[in-house]
């Protein structure tokens, strides 16, 4: 199974890349997706997460083919 993991704004600067392709076998939570993709980097405070463009908590689970995104607080408007 595989996921796309995307990073936006200051979080993209922090991880140093816009996205990852992540292959996995056992079910993962959103938090575990981050840990797999960034094993040496803890999740910055106030980070938001989305799965398939809907907001989710870090304990939410992901499915094969999902797009998981991490980004800082939004500042539009």
């Amino acid at each position: 199974m595989s996921l796309v993991v995307r990073y936006f704004a200051s979080l993209q600067d922090l991880v140093g890349r816009p996205e990852d392709e992540l292959a996995y076998t056992a079910p993962l939570t959103v938090r575990e997706v981050w840990l797999r993709a960034n094993p040496s980097l803890s999740i910055p405070p106030n980070t938001l997460a989305a799965v398939n463009m809907d907001y989710v908590g870090f304990d939410g689970s992901v499915n094969d083919g999902d797009e998981v995104a991490f980004f800082p607080p939004v500042t539009g408007g």
Binding site: R6, F8, A9, S10, D13, N46, A50, M53, D54, Y55, A69, F71, P72, P73, V74, T75, G76, G77
Partner: protein
């Protein structure tokens, strides 16, 4: 219920005029329009700002703006709405965001317009990066509550 995300500068009054002529010209049921326009200031958080880049998450941004409108429709009687939001490179005095709500009655228009604006600010994935007078780039870290004193 239009949502426009635009890398081009826009005149909010022209956008309103165009939308009104295209969608509301014959609508005798409209009694009220409540409109909000957010403009780029040349000063923020103690520093002079020369310009700004607005990043977004194509797909999710549109989806979340659609949800803002849907949630407003569930709470108030809305006849039509228009959201325009700039992305990309922006200069001071440029309009950034336009939210307009048309309704039969003013209470619905006012409440829904403000709700959409506040919900947009807290949920729509846009991120501002300011270019200061020193040419330093700085991510805006969070949105304010919207009052000068807070």
């Amino acid at each position: 219920m239009a949502v426009i995300i635009s890398p081009a500068a826009f005149d909010p009054y022209q956008a309103l005029q165009d939308h009104q002529h295209a969608h509301l010209a014959q609508l005798g049921s409209v009694g009220a329009a409540a409109i909000f326009i957010g403009t780029m200031r040349d000063f923020n958080d103690g520093a002079t700002v020369k310009g700004m880049t607005l990043d977004y998450y194509p797909g999710m941004t549109e989806k979340q703006l659609g949800l803002c409108v849907q949630q407003a429709q569930q709470q108030w009687a809305i006849i039509d709405s228009l959201i325009v939001h700039r992305v990309g490179d922006i200069l001071p005095l440029d309009p950034i965001v336009l939210v307009a709500v048309w309704s039969a009655h003013r209470g619905d228009a006012f409440d829904a317009c403000r709700f959409i604006m506040e919900t947009l600010k807290s949920t729509a994935p846009f991120w501002k990066r300011e270019r200061l007078a020193s040419d330093e780039l700085r991510w805006v870290e969070h949105n304010s509550k919207g009052y000068g004193a807070v």
